[in-house]
Amino acid sequence: MRTMTALFALAISVAGCTSTDGDDELLVFAAASLTEAFGALETAFEADHPDVDVVIHLAGSQRLAAQILEGAPAEVFASADEVQMARVVAAGEARAAPRVFAHNRLVVVVPAGNPRGVAGLADLAREDLSVVLAAGHVPAGAYTREVLDRAGVEVEPVSLELDVRSVVSRIALGEADAGVVYTSDLVGEDEVVGIEVPDELNVTADYPIVVLDDAGTAADRFVELVLSDRGRGILEDAGLRVP
């Protein structure tokens, strides 16, 4: 019995150790493609505000929006497209009007060395290629559809992933031959390379950010950082474009 109590107490204290004692927590929901960028922004913000513990929750923007609508206590939402942001705004969850803070472009991604000799978008229609795309309701997937329609290419993917990073990892692991992701997703990835999409076919992804209702003051300061010159520099280093 005593062992049980001791184990129970240990479990509780370990669980409690996940949050830094005494710190205010700032919960940020960010699109999966913002993994690198917001990781760097978190470091910068916490250096400026040592009393705040920034927690970044990364997933496909459509999942984040759904979670916010279900009542998730997010304080900041950074989406990869306007569609998912509109869902959140329409539900009255936003405190103010969203601001576009970054842009992104699409690129065809293949394993390093391009073993299957993919030359461009048109090759994605090849029957001998396993192509993985983001699902249509994911921002990256919606942008991909737009680009493929514009190029007149019909692709039969072998899987429809629920966020763009999963597409990257399928290619990086060698499970698929090609995919379509954001140019920023290539930064720091040694296992994959990009094949350019011509400008006239490409889309510009607009990333809006907003502070949500019931957010603390740290949320406003975080968004200020994102929109500041310093924040723009961090975003550019992570492969995004800034307005």
Binding site: G60, Q62, R63, A66, L69, E70, S130, V132, A135, H137, P157, V158, S159, L160, E161, L162, R170, L173, G174, E175, A176
Partner: protein
């Protein structure tokens, strides 16, 4: 007339038991109450939902067949033969049951993926790629569900009266005849319970499927994967589909009445 009285209950046990029931029942109640029943006809007619149901039923039954063809012989060997390393074999056979499903999916990729130890050779030799295929779904489901069948069948084989087999043998029955006409019928109740549990586990499989087989409507997007996707686009449809899976689970439990599960939890008042 015999009077049976309950044991005196240690203080607090009753309250904790009540909390346990509430904890388990509330989510099920929440599902039943929040599901938009009025949309059920639309959902049933939706082609993607229909595809997911057909896919789930087909793959889970195929996985069950695979689990039975491979798992019952394994259970027989574990129960009836002694050999060096038997404990290790049993541990390997049971491991997928306790392994986190997504870890199972990763492991399947490393074995049967295009760069996997077997998958690479398979792809080079035959061009067959298991990930992103319906066969991959069946493999993932069989991987996580087979241990259930192995464990329940081995238990049944160990607890049956061996003399029945001996008598059949002395009466001239060959080994296959003993197996099919004596052993299997005798363990039929625990075998049936094992098959039902195995099928339910295969039907509900998610983590290994989405990791190994991918996510494509009609080919690999089973019902649990559909629920996960629908949560992002149409939560009410997700609730309804969840209810359907809940109903199937209840049906499986009802089917297991009077068998393995009930033997461990008797409905009789304690004496």
């Amino acid at each position: 007339m015999s009077a049976s009285t309950s044991s005196p209950t240690p203080r607090g046990i009753g309250l904790l038991a009540l909390v346990a029931v509430v904890l388990l029942a509330l989510p099920l109640l929440g599902l039943a109450l929040r599901a938009p029943w009025s949309r059920l006809p639309d959902l049933v007619g939706d082609p993607q939902v229909a595809a997911a149901v057909r896919l789930s039923v087909g793959t889970s039954l195929a996985a069950l067949l695979l689990a039975a063809v491979l798992g019952i012989p394994l259970a027989w060997v574990l129960a009836r033969r002694s050999f060096p390393g038997r404990r290790l074999v049993r541990a390997v056979a049971v491991l997928p049951m306790v392994l986190p499903p997504v870890v199972g999916g990763v492991a399947l990729l490393l074995a049967f993926g295009r760069r996997g130890i077997v998958g690479g050779a398979l792809a080079d030799a035959t061009g067959v790629s298991l990930p992103f295929s319906t066969v991959g779904v069946v493999l993932a489901q069989a991987f996580v569900a087979m241990p259930f069948l192995v464990v329940t069948t081995e238990a049944g084989l160990r607890s049956m009266d061996r003399r029945l087999e001996d008598v059949a043998a002395t009466l001239g029955a060959g080994r296959w005849a003993v197996l099919t006409r004596v052993t299997l019928p005798v363990i039929a109740p625990s075998l049936a319970a094992g098959l039902a549990l195995t099928w339910a586990r295969a039907l509900g499989e998610f983590g290994a499927t989405i990791t190994f087989a991918g996510n494509l409507p009609g080919r690999t997007r089973t019902m649990p994967l559909s629920v996960y996707v629908l949560l992002e686009t149409d939560p009410e449809a997700a609730y309804l589909l969840s209810l359907v899976l809940l109903a199937v689970s209840i049906a499986v439990l009802l089917g297991l009445r009077g068998s393995l599960l009930e033997r461990t939890g008797s409905d009789e008042a304690p004496r």
